[in-house]
Amino acid sequence: MIKVLKEGLFTTIQDIGRFGYKNIGVPVSGSMDQTSAKLANLLLGNDESSAVLEMTLVGPTLEFMNDTYISITGADMNPSLNKQKVLQNKPLFVNKGDILYLSHSSNGMRSYLGIKGGFNSEKKLGSKSFYRGITKREKLIKNDKIKFSKVTSSTMKMNKSINDFKINRKNKINVFKGPEFDLLDSNSKDIIFNTDFTIGINNRMGYNLVEPIENSISSIISSPVMPGTVQLTPSGRLIILCRDCQTSGGYPRVLQLDKSSMDSLSQKTIGETIKLKLV
């Protein structure tokens, strides 16, 4: 078990997501940066769908109640174990009673903590990913206890550290044309691909982009959207939908991010800029 001593800014349990329930309005959820979450599992020899902790901007302080192996990937939150600095992107052995500190992220937005065998938290509709109204919790709070499997000798298969792995910090975001793209006038299209867009308010539901564009498209009949769908609001603001986004929406869907660009976007914080590029 892990005990949460300090919860951090927004710490959740995530896996690859919840599939098969979009039809009843349940979002897919899952780790925002799927590449980093998969790496955390890969390092420990876990199944890539194992549940990890997603930590946002300011990480938690965690006490281990049992011996186990962990891995830390994604944004650099300057991790330390019992006040001794530890490395990311490699398996780490932790003893019962050890305390892991994660502080402010110096590079990126989201860090991931993998644990040998994955976290054994409640599974709802096929997934352990936190989501309000589906799981009991929408984020971890102080004194929460999270279960994980005991390490046995047969589960000791591990991968070496991956030293050259860096989270993707490029500002180029690849997009496909969305279903309503062709309704944009040529001037708006030009602006979309020639503007350095500033990241505005953002969370697991979506990223707002600050710079407005002219919007001549009216609302559409409520239609399916996906993580990565870029909606154009009536005020001309672009919103990039993320893993916890609703399953349908009435704003024009002008663009769609490719999957690896979703991972890079999820490491961006407010004030950073991105450039949209058609693929």
């Binding site: 599939f19 979009k22 009843i24 309005g25 309000r132 589906i134 279903p179 609703q246 929406g249």
Partner: protein, 240 residues
Amino acid sequence: MKKNNIFFKVFNEESILIQWNDKVSIKLIDSIISYKNLIEKELKEALIECVQSINSMMVIYNPNKINSKDLINILKKLSTSGFIVTKTKKKIWSIPVCYDISFGIDLKDLSTLNNISIDEIISLHSSTTYNVLSMGFLPGFLYLGMNHKKLYCERKDKPELNIKSGSIGIARDQSGIYPQDSPGGWRIIGRSPISFFNVDDKSPCFAEPGDKIKFQSISLSDFNKIEKNRSSYDIKYKLL
């Protein structure tokens, strides 16, 4: 489904969007649902899920099992296979609603806006048989059509920050039920005391697209009685 009214578009690396240019109708929704059932039967493990909507459908697939080109060909073939719209008996659900103004926070505004009495709003809303058009927005949120034309209204300019679970809202020609506390912009005309989404149930939501719903006006004291025992309340339905 007319062949030239259906469009297939690659949406991203793992989904195809199917769009119909037909007029929105219950007939269209029924045929989208039958088409969805056929796709689920034919594609099996290559399919992750089909998300039905009012005039479109998202087909999410496993790119390790099939590529988009082959999938579109299969989808096209299935759409022209002349499949029969399943004629199962439709469920018509009876949903108790208390239209007291303490719950229907926008009743007064709507009455002024549409120049219609509150009594008439309630009588029109509770005498209409609604169709479940689609689900989305929140887990278990039902999009219901169509409101009587005298109830037509735009969403509120400024969404409410906390609409209570069970609230019944209207916007444009649709009604909707908020299955959980949520921000929202629909005009709230009443509240139901029952629970609309139970994550631990085998089917977390009682209804599905294609079903019908009728609202039954109840008193404040009935609301309180039902709410006290909401976990054991069985939503009643008839077969049409």
